[in-house]
């Protein structure tokens, strides 16, 4: 008897779009870069690959210096950043993530300081171990953070988003290490970059397949542009990286493409969330489908 207007109430959003600024999209990237680099750094150290351990330790520290700055800048009340540390709250992925970031950031900073000054090898080893073991958590918790919202394109992709973020972290950390490490020590970084790039393409494809019509934002507007750029750069970088081997210039060009692709993929996910929340059709579609 009554039709169900999918456009809702004058087309106004049902769910509020996020209020996060681009700093948060950059953090989704730097968190992954830091996590991947810390993990690779620990692996490189354990296998006695000093040049690779050195470059990844510095990359992780740089990314973990940028991360809290980006996050604090986005707060409505930056001076209240420490309020996140007044509680331990497992039901809040942002609270859990703040603790991970605080511990991993401190450890990565200490490891980099020891590495740069070549002092306190035991402290460095412990710090590198902590940062390296927390790396995979740092790279993936952000997927839980965005999935744990009412935004359809994020919430309904909750099974695949951690894989997208983990593979993107591997791709970007591998790529950064390929650029910053002498090529005769960068073998593990090259393999990580290639595996990450292929994994990122596979995981985004799986995510879009799962989302079906709800994944429309990945083909439209800004999110669509970022998603296309991400796929093109990642695929081109992976192909070039596979054929260029240890060559210095083309190898680094390939790494640049993969690195840029990983940045674009995070921005695609970020913008898709806004587009998904702004159009009430997606909310209605996801919930009527579920009922």
């Amino acid at each position: 008897m009554t039709e169900r207007p999918t456009e809702g109430y004058y087309g106004r959003p049902i769910v509020k779009p996020p209020v996060w600024k681009n700093e948060v999209a950059w953090y989704l990237f730097t968190g992954g870069l830091a996590g991947g680099s810390s993990a690779l750094g620990l692996a490189a150290r354990a296998s006695g690959n000093r040049p690779l351990a050195r470059s990844t330790t510095f990359t992780a520290a740089a990314a973990l210096t940028a991360s809290p700055i980006l996050l604090i800048k986005d707060l409505g009340r930056p001076e209240r950043f420490v309020n996140m540390l007044r509680v331990v709250k497992p039901s809040s992925p942002m609270n859990v993530g703040t603790w991970i970031l605080t511990v991993a950031g401190t450890a990565a900073g200490a490891a980099a300081a020891c590495e740069a000054t070549d002092v306190l090898p035991r402290v460095r080893a412990v710090a590198q171990g902590v940062a390296g073991l927390l790396g995979p958590a740092l790279a993936t918790y952000t997927a839980v953070l965005v999935s744990d919202t009412a935004v359809p394109v994020w919430h309904e992709a909750r099974a695949e988003l951690p894989l997208v973020f983990a593979s993107g972290a591997a791709a970007s950390a591998g790529a950064a290490a390929v650029i910053l490490t002498p090529s005769d020590a960068a073998g593990p970084a090259r393999r990580m970059m290639l595996a990450g790039a292929v994994g990122e393409l596979a995981a985004t494809t799986a995510m879009e397949r799962r989302l079906g019509a709800l994944g429309e934002p990945y083909h439209r507007g800004k999110a669509g542009a970022f998603a296309r750029a991400a796929k093109a750069a990642t695929a081109a970088g992976a192909a070039l990286g596979a054929v260029s081997g240890r060559r210095r210039v083309t190898g680094r060009l390939a790494a640049g493409l993969v690195f840029g692709g990983a940045v674009a993929e995070r921005f695609a996910v970020f913008r898709a969330g806004f587009q998904s929340a702004e159009d009430p059709r997606y909310v209605v579609m996801s919930q009527r489908g579920r009922s």
């Binding site: 993990a39 707060l75 709250k89 009412a150």
Partner: protein, 285 residues
């Protein structure tokens, strides 16, 4: 026992001990709303909610738009080319028409996603079972904004405030046993305040009456404790589908799926760790 990792939503009323009170809430009966907006005005005045722009939207009589940081009650106006009730004539000229009006508000969910995801603990459940943002703790991270399935919370951008605000169910009044400003001001008792159990009973009887009177599309929205958010503390009698009013048809507390999300992340993190170790195979060159 549910698998939810809620640290706080299940804490009421146990965590309050002797101070716990019966859960209080709103029943908004839209069938008697006349669209006077007295609730919007009373809310703004009592809670000293700042002016956030005077706009002409050309969306019927609604120039408020929707709930947000500076709008804690919002009256929706819907114009439909349809008779008010089944059996009503199409009017003398054959052009059927009806108004739907509804005063929207924070739902004060049983399972509140905003409260769950708040990283500072700024969002709490009161001794009355209502959900309140503590303005002296909120750091404006904005996580609760897209977490709310109803789009209730928003960040206040005016006056460099930067914090998130929403309906407190007039906590300063209700904790003293006084009716919230909107319900006090409502001239038709479309907004009713009271113990949730009583309101649910009253609403059931009211629905029977409205349906018997020929409002075929009438339904209660949010009164069911078994829905996706465990029932609303502020529920509604609507005359049409929820979407018509800009409300989600089947809202779900997003943290309901949180254990599953952490499992997926753990799998991905494990794959990343194993993958990094595997990259060592093949040597350093």
């Amino acid at each position: 026992m549910s698998a939810q990792p809620n640290v706080a939503t299940e804490a009421w009323p146990q965590s309050y001990g002797d101070e716990a009170q019966p859960r209080m809430g709103f029943f908004t009966d839209t069938s008697v709303c006349i669209g006077c907006k007295a609730c919007e005005v009373a809310c703004k005045e009592w809670n000293q909610v700042p002016e956030d722009g005077l706009l002409f939207t050309a969306q019927s009589y609604d120039n408020t738009g929707g709930l947000g940081a500076d709008t804690w009650r919002h009256v929706a106006f819907i114009e439909q080319d349809r008779p008010l009730r089944v059996g009503d004539g199409d009017g003398e000229d054959g052009d059927a028409f009806r108004w739907l009006m509804s005063s929207d508000v924070c739902k004060h969910c049983t399972h509140s996603a905003c409260l769950d995801v708040c990283p500072t603990g700024a969002i709490i459940r009161t001794e009355l079972g209502t959900v309140v943002v503590q303005e002296d703790v909120c750091n404006g991270c904005g996580y609760c904004v897209p977490a709310c399935p109803f789009g209730v919370l928003d960040k206040r951008e005016i006056e460099d405030d930067g914090r998130v605000w929403k309906c407190t169910l007039c906590y300063d009044r209700t904790r003293e046993g006084i009716t919230p400003a909107c319900a006090q001001a409502c001239p038709t008792e479309s907004i009713q305040y009271g113990p949730l159990d009583e309101l649910r009973e009253r609403a059931g009887a009211r629905l029977d009456k409205v349906v018997a009177d020929g409002f075929a599309g009438a339904r209660l929205y949010g009164e069911d404790p078994n829905d996706g958010v465990g029932g609303f503390g502020a529920f509604f009698l609507l005359l049409d589908e929820p979407e018509v009013y800009g409300l989600p048809p089947h809202p779900v507390d997003t943290t309901h799926d949180l254990p599953e999300m952490w499992r997926s992340a753990a799998v991905a993190a494990g794959a990343l760790a194993v993958g990094v170790a595997a990259c060592l195979l093949g040597g350093r060159r």
